[in-house]
């Protein structure tokens, strides 16, 4: 039955969807302020989407965390069905490749649900956030990089690799985004980042699928350093 309700929600709303996948590092090194600020940022992101008429009906968010494994902690859902995150306990290693692959798998599934039901959608977004070096299976990492770059090249994915803190491996993040350099979060400006992200989502929601949406690159200045 639960699945059925999800489907009704999906088909009764003709608004084209913006699938946003948050793929976040919850390895041991995120412990403390980083993870607290991150969770706060995500919840703020939810609130901002909820308040925006267009984004409210369009955005669908999913969250994959990676540490010594990759876990889907939130499957794609509209803002009304998203569960606010209470706490996350960071621990373990940084299986970034595994995380991205799981996020992409989840996205593919969602896209086939859209397609099967006849729901239009915008180019999906993948937000990849890490504060360290990937140390999962190197093959998985290579596979993830290849999948992301292929999707980006085919204009089927917009990717935002974000480095957190000074230890983030910007070189690896750069490989995920050949066109746009990865961004390094200034300090712990998660709030500013998610504000920017929600604004960008709203912007896309106000356009129609197929429109080329210009990202508000000026807005980046508030939270990122290139």
């Amino acid at each position: 039955m639960a699945l059925k309700i999800g489907a009704d929600d999906l088909v009764e709303n003709p608004t084209p969807r913006v699938p946003v996948s948050l793929c976040i590092d919850t390895s041991g090194s995120m412990l403390g302020d980083k993870i607290r600020e991150l969770i706060e940022g995500v919840n703020l992101f939810y609130d901002a989407i909820d308040e925006d008429d267009d984004a409210h009906d369009a955005a669908e968010v999913s969250i994959v965390e990676f540490n010594s494994a990759a876990t889907l902690i939130q499957d794609y859902a509209s803002i009304e069905r998203l569960e606010r995150i209470e706490t996350v306990d960071p621990s373990g290693l940084t299986f970034l490749g595994e995380g991205v692959n799981l996020a992409l798998d989840t996205l593919e599934k969602r896209k086939s649900v859209y397609s099967g039901s006849g729901v239009l959608y915008y180019q999906p977004w993948l937000v990849l956030m890490t504060d360290g070096q990937p140390n999962g299976d190197p093959d998985e990492l290579e596979r993830a990089i290849q999948r992301v770059t292929e999707l980006v090249a085919a204009k089927k994915l917009t990717v935002f690799p974000i480095g957190i803190g000074g230890d983030a491996d910007m070189a690896v993040l750069a490989r995920f985004s050949p066109n746009r350099p990865p961004l390094r979060l200034q300090g712990l400006k998660f709030k500013e980042f998610f504000e920017w992200l929600s604004k960008s989502v709203s912007r896309v929601s106000r356009s129609t699928p197929g429109d080329t949406v210009k990202l508000d690159l000026e807005g980046l200045a508030g939270w990122a350093e290139l």
Binding site: V11, P14, D53, D54, Y114, G118, G210
Partner: protein, 783 residues
């Protein structure tokens, strides 16, 4: 139009005849309200004096009777009026006939239409009488006038006035009206909305009009069209003229040079004073609160002018073209409710153009009202389908007006349209309109015609491309946000979906393909046939109007008809009035409409062609899918049919098992050791062998039964020396502690006849050598 009014009295003189056609009785036209009464008052004295009643041919009476005969229970409101009028007319005629004012006995019933009766009278009595027919039917007027000219008779024909006079049009204007009628009917045929009678009219008029023109030597009829209709309506519309404003822009202006940004200036914001340059001069106002922020600029309230807003273009959209367009639009005094015509250009303190003022639109963007079912239900919970049709009509009226000015909206999308609770649509964003060769530089892929490629600003939109956007918008208003080309099984690339031109919804025999999931197909199903036909032919690449979607005018006619349909007798399914019907539309008025036995949802019978009956399942699809299911087999079953969560079959399967011996299905509780009670192993009472119960006879196993039935060889008949008694029989006596009989006779049997040898042996004393023990026992036994 020149019309002569004849006094009908002229034709109630002797030697003349006055006829009245059905439509004069039936149609309640304001042109002749009260006219019938006046007609009879005028003519009554002459009629009586001359004994020359007005003729209402029998066929006309029959037609009236046909209307009147409709049982009121079976007709809808619109027809109720017709029934009422026809009954009044019949009563009136009866009364008038009794007074000798009318005769209804002329003509016969054989003509198919009353029209034909009049022409017959003309043929055979034309040389005896001068006649006059009162009818409002243009075709009949044309036919009669043509025939009378050919026969060279005076045969007046005209319609009734409210003074009871006969209004006779001159030949030229009658010819014009005939042409307009033909045009309108042809339009209906083109639209696929024509009835049989409409098609007949087209055939008749097509043949009649050229002949009429020749016989009367008339000037050819020129279709009046607005000067600019080609730009707005396209050359192939066959559109009847709409009011063409003298202020219209050029119909086919050349494309202007590429647009350029104006030199950057400081843009005013909330609280800033700006300069207003209107036709009436210059003034200053203060920008009030920010009302909204769009893709091209910001809209502010105007302090002290609640009905105005000012749009300040942002730096990327402050262009030469926009400035020129605003100047053109503000130079003419356009005022139209629901259209955001710029009122004045706005400049900043340095006198640089920064935007324009316009009337403040009421309502909210379609994007966040009609286009989103959840919000729509919340915003306008009481709206019915007719209200959405009103929204469409309101939109179309404005579009048609702008088109008549040779203005194209360009970027038609649900953010540029506002709607309020009164169903009034506002068109905003005048600075992006296309006029005088300035293109509309923006667009929305969902509303972009497949012929438009590349940058919007680089070319002028064609009226046909604009009409594509109109069609999509109308569909999306009626179907609340669903795009006509959205279908299941695609990657959601709307531009490609539009290019492919596959319209997924069903039309008559043409099945739907990949219709998106959800209520959409129900909403589509309930649109009237003619609306569906036009949409299908517009959107589907195989459709007749795929290359030239209907004009705003044509849609306007169609939607006006849709509105009438909703209130009319043909709308037999109550759900057709709902914005969100929950099922497909009933096929015909007699299709059973009933409720699902479980959830009460409305259902309609499904026509089974092969059986010629309606299939009326008790449960709706949802209930059949969602109803309680057996936890074992998962089959949907009504809740009351489930015991312990399982269906009867599964419970039986679970509680029953086959006996391992006989295979009989037996409740498990009666099975012992896998066997049913019949197949239980029981010890044979004789030998003690475990044997299936069924194989026992009176507690004995087969072997023991056989054995018991055998004669006991140790007991010989004392008479014949033969074994004579079965073991069973022996047992019987022994069980009762009786002596066991010793001869056939004792058990009421006869000794068998002896063979010769046996007889001899019997007679001889026994010589059998017996052991000692045998002898002792035998002796003991025989004692």
């Amino acid at each position: 139009m020149s019309t002569t009014e004849l006094d009908p009295t002229e034709f109630s003189q002797g030697g003349r005849r006055l006829f009245i056609d059905t439509n004069i009785f039936m149609d309640n036209h304001s042109r002749w309200t009260g006219g019938l009464k006046r007609l009879f008052e005028r003519t009554a004295p002459t009629i009586i004096a001359e004994r020359n009643p007005i003729v209402v041919p029998m066929k006309v009476v029959r037609e009236l009777e046909k209307y009147a005969g409709k049982r009121s229970s079976r007709v809808a409101e619109e027809q109720v009026e017709a029934v009422r009028r026809s009954r009044i007319a019949l009563t009136f005629l009866e009364d008038a006939e009794a007074r000798g004012l009318v005769r209804t006995d002329l003509g016969d019933d054989s003509a198919r239409y009353a029209d034909d009766s009049f022409l017959r009278v003309l043929e055979w009595a034309g040389d005896r009488y001068e006649m006059c027919v009162i009818t409002d039917d243009i075709t009949l007027q044309l036919r009669i006038r043509l025939r009378s000219a050919q026969l060279n008779r005076r045969f007046a024909v005209g319609t009734l006035t409210s003074d009871g006079l006969v209004a006779v049009e001159d030949d030229q204007s009658l010819f014009g009206r005939g042409n307009r009628k033909l045009d309108a009917k042809r339009q209906k045929v083109d639209d696929g909305t024509a009835t049989f009678a409409d098609r007949q009219d087209v055939d008749e008029l097509t043949a009649l009009l050229p002949e009429f023109q020749t016989v009367f030597g008339l000037k050819p009829w020129v279709r009046r069209r607005p000067n600019g209709a080609n730009a707005a309506g396209g050359p192939d519309t066959g559109e009847v003229a709409t009011t063409q404003s003298a202020q219209a822009f050029s119909a086919r202006p050349p494309h202007r040079d590429a647009d350029r940004l104006l030199p950057p200036v400081s843009l005013p914001g909330e609280g800033d004073e700006v300069q207003v340059d209107s036709a009436r001069g210059r003034s200053r106002v203060t920008l009030g609160k920010l009302v909204g922020e769009g893709g091209e600029g910001r809209v502010f309230e105007v302090v002290g002018q609640p009905n105005r807003v000012i749009k300040v273009l942002d730096s990327e959209h402050r262009t030469e073209h926009r400035q020129a367009k605003i100047a053109l639009l503000t130079s003419r005094p356009f005022v139209a409710k629901g259209i955001g015509f710029p009122i004045a250009a706005i400049s900043n303190d340095d006198g640089a153009f920064v935007g324009y003022s316009m009337p403040r639109a009421s309502g909210r963007e379609l994007q966040v009202t009609v286009m989103r079912p959840a919000r729509f239900r919340a915003t306008y919970p009481d709206w019915k389908k007719g209200d959405l049709v009103d929204v469409c009509i309101s939109f179309l009226e404005k579009v048609a007006y702008l088109h008549s000015l040779n203005v194209l909206l360009g970027d038609i999308n649900p953010k540029n349209l506002m709607v309020n609770a009164n169903k009034d649509v506002w068109i905003i964003d005048a600075d992006s309109w296309q006029l005088e060769g300035y293109p509309c530089p923006v667009g929305t892929p969902m509303f972009t015609a497949p012929t438009m490629k590349g940058e919007y600003a680089e070319r002028l939109r064609t009226p046909v491309e604009e009409r594509f956007a109109i069609a999509v918008m109308l569909f999306m208003i009626l179907i609340t946000g669903q795009h006509p080309y959205n279908r299941a099984g695609t990657d959601g690339d709307i531009t490609r979906l539009i290019d492919e031109g596959i319209f997924p919804y069903q039309l008559g025999e043409i099945p739907g393909v990949d219709q998106p999931e959800g209520q959409w197909r129900y909403m589509w199903s309930h649109l009237p046939k003619n609306v569906k036909t036009v949409f299908w032919n517009t959107f589907h690449r195989d459709g007749k109007w795929y290359d030239r979607p209907p004009t705003a005018q044509k849609w306007l006619r169609l939607f006006t008809e849709y509105k009438q349909y909703l209130d009319g007798p043909e709308n037999f399914d109550p759900q057709s009035n709902d914005v969100y019907p929950t099922r497909l539309k009933a096929m015909a008025p007699d299709t059973p409409i009933y409720n699902c036995a479980q959830c009460g949802a409305s259902m309609v019978g499904r026509w089974q062609k092969d059986k010629g009956t309606y299939w009326t399942p008790k449960l709706c699809d949802d209930c059949r899918q969602n109803q309680s299911r057996c936890k074992e087999c998962g089959k949907p079953k009504p809740a009351e049919a489930l015991k312990d969560g399982r269906c009867w079959e599964c419970n039986r399967k679970l509680n029953y098992a086959a006996c391992m011996n006989c295979g009989k299905e037996t409740p498990k509780k009666y099975l012992v050791g896998g066997r049913c009670s019949n197949c239980q192993l029981v010890a044979c009472k004789d030998c003690g062998t475990l044997t299936a119960k069924t194989a026992l006879t009176y507690g004995r196993c087969g072997d023991c039964v056989k054995k018991a039935a055998e004669l006991d060889p140790s007991r010989l008949c004392v008479d014949c020396r033969q074994p004579f008694i079965t073991r069973d029989h022996v047992g019987w006596f022994q069980n009762k502690y009786l002596d066991v009989p010793r001869s056939h006779t004792a058990i009421k049997q006869q000794c068998p006849p002896l063979t010769a040898a046996e007889a001899v042996r019997a007679l001889e004393p026994q010589r059998v050598s017996l052991s000692w023990w045998q002898r002792v026992t035998s002796k003991w036994r025989n004692n």
